[in-house]
Structure formats: structure tokens, C-alpha cells
């Protein structure tokens, strides 16, 4: 079942082609890895899917529905969440409040609910806190639940960022280099989290430079260069693909573990 289908996606900025007739799909509950050299258009792809940029040509279909060019908040409400290459969290708020923030589009209290604090609103707020505590524990952030987000360590912040996007209960999660800047230990923690995300039923589209991580965790790969698809397939076939190796990995083969 194709959860996300990208068809002939094309985007130019000025004279530069960031994405060129890119086509691929993400299946339900799979982890698809995107690899490619710097500047090959991976983050642009995320920006196109989530609506930050509008593509010049092509289609983005999510669960069969055409979401091409829809606004970011609309895409998020439909069930696609993302993290950013540069850590993006709500400063001045505690970790708990950050996660609660993520639950925004899955809750409904409006102005009347806020003013009257009726039963439904209070129940919703209670559920928000409970689910947020669960999420923090899932991310091994329980100890820092009330610390202001900007005071967390870099790795903690990146996990928090994942948590915020997970709190939107997405069906597809776009992770942009989640392990960037992490130590081996922190990376292992992140990998475990991503694996459990898949187990819990969310598909993942993963941009990752750390090949060990990527090879370990991804079900399939696509390799991109200059905005076009270079290759697609299983970890083994990608690792053996000559063009991928030349473009991205240098002339040596990659180790699979």
C-alpha cells in the first residue's frame, strides 16, 4: 500500500534545479532511506512534501489524495510530520510543554473551551499531559520534563524535536539527519527510537549521512544526486550500485555492518 507517492517532482530555484523529475513511493510502515551528497536536494524534497515550497511540476500523493502545494499546516494535519536539519524546538517552554504543543492538531478545544474550561476541555488537557509524559519516557527525556527546552543538551533537543513531531500522531514521519552531531551512544538511542516508531505503525522517510545507521535501519533506499534519482532498492543493491558508490561514497564499497 503506497502511503506516499511522488510523481515526476520538479523544482527550480532561479536557474538551479533542486529536484528533477523525481519519482518514488513510501509504503505503509516502512523506513525508506534517502542518501545523496550534500546539496543533492534531499531537504528540498522534504520542503516540497511538507508544503514549504510549491513544486514547478509533479504530484505528491498521500494515501491517494493529492496534497501537492498544500500549506504546511494542512500537510501536518493530514498526517505528515517532519524534523529539521537544524534543531527546531520551542524555546522558553519546558520539554513537556513542547510535546503538548505537538498535540495541537489532534485536539479540538477552541475559544469557548478555553474560556469556559468545560468538562471536555479539562479532559482533553488531562489527556495531553498524560500522553506527553508517555512520549517523554519513550524518548528517555522523563528526567528533564520541566526543563526549558533551550537548556537541554544537543542530543536531548534533537530527541525532543522528534517527540514534537511524533506528538502530531503522523502516519508518515520525515526525519532530516536525526543523528547529526550525536555521539555513538546517543546515536544508538536515536536508532532504537526510530525502530520503535516503525513498530508503532508510522512510516519513516529518513535522510541520513551516517551510513552505518542508515544501512541498519532502513528497509529500502533511494539515492539522489543533483535532484534526480540515481538508484532505488534494498540496502545491499544500493551498496553494490556503482553509480551510487561513485557519486556519494567514493570508489570503495560500503560495509554492511
Amino acid at each position: 500500500m503506497e502511503l506516499l507517492k511522488i510523481v515526476e517532482l520538479t523544482k527550480c530555484f532561479g536557474g538551479v534545479r533542486a529536484t528533477a523529475q523525481l519519482s518514488f513511493h513510501v509504503a505503509d510502515q516502512e523506513i525508506l532511506g534517502i542518501i545523496g551528497p550534500n546539496g543533492s536536494g534531499k531537504t528540498t524534497l522534504f520542503n516540497l512534501i511538507t508544503g514549504i515550497h510549491k513544486p514547478d511540476e509533479g504530484l505528491i500523493l498521500f494515501s491517494g489524495e493529492n496534497i501537492t502545494g498544500r500549506k504546511p499546516y494542512d500537510v501536518a494535519q493530514r498526517g505528515i510530520a517532519r524534523t529539521f536539519q537544524v534543531t527546531n524546538i520551542f524555546s522558553g517552554q519546558s520539554s513537556l510543554d513542547n510535546i503538548i504543543m505537538g498535540r495541537h492538531c489532534r485536539t479540538r478545544a477552541g475559544v469557548w473551551g478555553a474560556l469556559s474550561r468545560n468538562k471536555r476541555t479539562r479532559a482533553e488537557e488531562k489527556e495531553n499531559r498524560e500522553k506527553a509524559y508517555e512520549m517523554l519516557s519513550f524518548l528517555s527525556l522523563s528526567d528533564v520534563w520541566d526543563r526549558p527546552a533551550e537548556l537541554l543538551s544537543s542530543a536531548e533537543q534533537r530527541r525532543l524535536m522528534i517527540g514534537i513531531s511524533l506528538a502530531t500522531s503522523p502516519r508518515l514521519l520525515l526525519l532530516d539527519e536525526p543523528t547529526a552531531g550525536m555521539s555513538a551512544e546517543e546515536t544508538a538511542m536515536a536508532v532504537a527510537i526510530i525502530a520503535r516508531i516503525k513498530e508503532n505503525g508510522t512510516a519513516v522517510l529518513l535522510i541520513e549521512h551516517n551510513m552505518k545507521v542508515a544501512m541498519n535501519i532502513c528497509d529500502r533506499f533511494i539515492a539522489i544526486e543533483g535532484g534526480s534519482k540515481l538508484a532505488e532498492g534494498s540496502p545491499e543493491s544500493i551498496a553494490a550500485n556503482q553509480r551510487v558508490i561513485e557519486a556519494y561514497l567514493g570508489k570503495d564499497q560500503i560495509c554492511l555492518n
Binding site: 511538507t50 499546516y73 494535519q77 524546538i89 474560556l115
Partner: protein
């Protein structure tokens, strides 16, 4: 910033309400009662501006214009005999909110200095219209506003011409407004506002329709300004287009920022301070813009989060007591 019943803040709030109730009996004269009532009227609209500027991060220099629209709508409806005071007040408040929503929808796509100057331009335009559309607004002055008058309920008389009674009326609305804004801030809606203020891109990425919430915040802020306007009209009996001037909008902005944009208590503190300080210094009316300018400059350079913002920074424990 989501908490359940915050008992510390509640005690403080209740004591404050007690103080407000007792105050008129301790004031040494009519003038001070007048002052206290004006503080209340201003506090309502500064709370509104605080919502827009402090919690949602939008610079608006049009708040005075909405105050004026609220005042004039209420006044015109009553002076022309179209509606008695209470429905006129409600109509003025709602009409101002409506205009706020329309203006917001039109102009809130602009950001930063564009938005600031745009709202300033709207402010100037509003004052211009109020002055020049003489047939509607009476031009340089609109008088003969009866206000709520004497309310007869059965055999009870509530005489709103009395200073004390009007004081309690205004502060009833102050308490209602502050409670409303407090609840709003500590809710899903308030969280959305704060998210937009700090990180709009991230907010959008998690499903917050930033434009819709900006308009909502602006509308609520304008509603409060309209309410304050209607109360002002009923209080003063006569109004003039100066109340919608850019100068008024500047003053309101100063009160918001000095008190602490982004803190609810700041709205009240800023209003009280900027009304009492000129009194304490025995500064006449002409010194006020200079004084306000100095205070604004000093605060924005040395204490950009305002007085209450700084207080909360220095004593985080106080967060339990003060919002």
C-alpha cells in the same frame, strides 16, 4: 504554560480583587477615583494589546484606532437614540471585533516593520475619517453621551452617574477580561499563539494554521479595545477623534512593553505605572510624551522583557504567583 488550577496565583488574584473592591473607600478624592477608573479602562485594552504583541508577537500601532472605533460606535448609537447604552456597548464591542477581524485578515500577512507601519497608516486613516466624516461623528467632538444612566431593577436603583458605581462597573469588566485572557493564554489557543510568536515555521509544521491564529489573537485584542472604548464613552460623556490617534496607540504600546509584553500581570502593572508615574512626578499633560518616551527607551534597552518579564526572570519561583 499549561497548568491546572494554580492556587498561588489564585490567592494573589483574589487579594487583588479584594483590594480593588475596597479601594474607592480609601481614595482621598474624586480625582483619584477618576484616575482609578481610567486605569481600569486602559488595563482592559492593554491586556488586549498584550495578547497581540506580547503573546502572538505582532507589532500593532493601531490599537488606539480600535479604541476609538469602539467608543464612537457606542456613542453614536446612543446619541442618535438607536440603542440604549448597554446594547450599544455590546454592539460597539462586537463591531470593533468584526472590524479587527477584517483588518487582520487583510493586513496580517505582513510582518515586522511592514506590519508596524501598516497599522500606523490605518491608525492615521481612522483618525482622519473620524475627524472629517462630520455628519456621522460630529467632527471635532461628540458629546451628549448619556452612558448607562440610572438602571432600575424592580425597586433597586443603580446610579451609574456616581463615580463609585462606574468604577465598579469598569472593574467588573477588568476582572472578566483578565480572567478571560488568562484562561485563553493557558489553553490550546494560547499555546498556539506562543508557538507562532517564537517559531512560526515550526508551529506550521505541527499543524498550526498561523494566519488563522494571528487573526484570532488580533480580533480578541480589538474586542477588548472596543469594550474599553464603549466604557470610556459612557464614562466621559463626550469624545473626540484624538482618542484614536497614533499618539494613543503609542501610549498603549508603551504600557504593554514597559509592564512586560508576554506577561498578563505586565499589562496591569504597565498601565498602573504609566498612569501613576506622571501623577507622582506632578508632571503636567505636556510632559507625558517625553516621560513615556524616556521610560520606553530605558526599558527596551535595559529590560526588554518589561518589568514583570524581568521579575519573572530573576525569580522563577514567582511564576507560581504571577502570570
Amino acid at each position: 504554560m499549561t497548568d491546572k488550577t494554580n492556587s498561588h496565583a489564585l490567592y494573589l488574584w483574589l487579594s487583588l480583587i479584594g483590594l480593588i473592591i475596597l479601594l474607592p473607600w480609601f481614595l482621598p478624592g474624586r480625582y483619584y477615583l477618576f484616575l482609578a477608573t481610567m486605569v481600569g479602562i486602559y488595563a482592559i485594552m492593554v491586556a488586549g494589546l498584550n495578547l497581540i504583541v506580547g503573546f502572538t508577537g505582532l507589532i500593532s500601532i493601531a490599537h488606539g484606532a480600535f479604541f476609538g472605533i469602539g467608543a464612537y460606535t457606542c456613542a453614536i448609537l446612543q446619541v442618535r437614540g438607536i440603542l440604549p447604552y448597554w446594547p450599544a456597548l455590546a454592539a460597539g464591542t462586537l463591531f470593533t471585533a468584526l472590524i479587527g477581524a477584517l483588518v487582520g485578515k487583510a493586513i496580517l500577512r505582513a510582518k515586522g516593520p511592514y506590519l508596524a507601519i501598516g497599522t500606523m497608516a490605518l491608525s492615521i486613516l481612522t483618525a482622519l475619517v473620524l475627524m472629517n466624516w462630520q455628519s456621522l461623528t460630529g467632527g471635532a467632538s461628540l458629546g451628549g453621551i448619556d452612558g448607562p444612566g440610572v438602571l432600575k431593577i424592580g425597586s433597586w436603583h443603580i446610579d451609574f452617574y456616581s463615580g463609585k458605581t462606574y468604577y465598579y462597573l469598569v472593574y467588573l469588566f477588568v476582572v472578566l477580561s483578565m480572567t478571560g485572557v488568562y484562561r485563553l493564554i493557558h489553553s490550546r489557543i494560547g499555546r498556539a499563539f506562543i508557538a507562532i510568536r517564537g517559531q512560526e515555521e515550526l508551529a506550521e509544521a505541527i499543524g498550526v494554521n498561523a494566519m488563522r491564529f494571528k487573526i484570532l489573537s488580533f480580533t480578541i485584542g480589538c474586542l477588548l479595545a472596543g469594550l474599553a472604548g464603549g466604557l470610556y464613552a459612557g464614562f466621559m460623556g463626550a469624545i473626540d477623534p484624538d482618542i484614536a490617534s497614533v499618539g494613543m496607540s503609542f501610549n498603549l504600546l508603551v504600557m504593554t512593553i514597559v509592564g512586560g509584553a508576554g506577561t498578563l500581570s505586565g499589562a496591569f502593572v504597565g498601565t498602573v505605572l504609566l498612569w501613576l508615574l506622571p501623577e507622582a512626578l506632578q508632571a503636567s499633560e505636556e510632559y507625558k510624551p517625553l516621560l513615556f518616551g524616556i521610560i520606553l527607551l530605558v526599558i527596551i534597552i535595559f529590560m526588554p522583557k518589561g518589568i514583570m518579564g524581568r521579575v519573572k526572570e530573576l525569580h522563577p519561583a514567582l511564576n507560581k504567583w504571577v502570570k
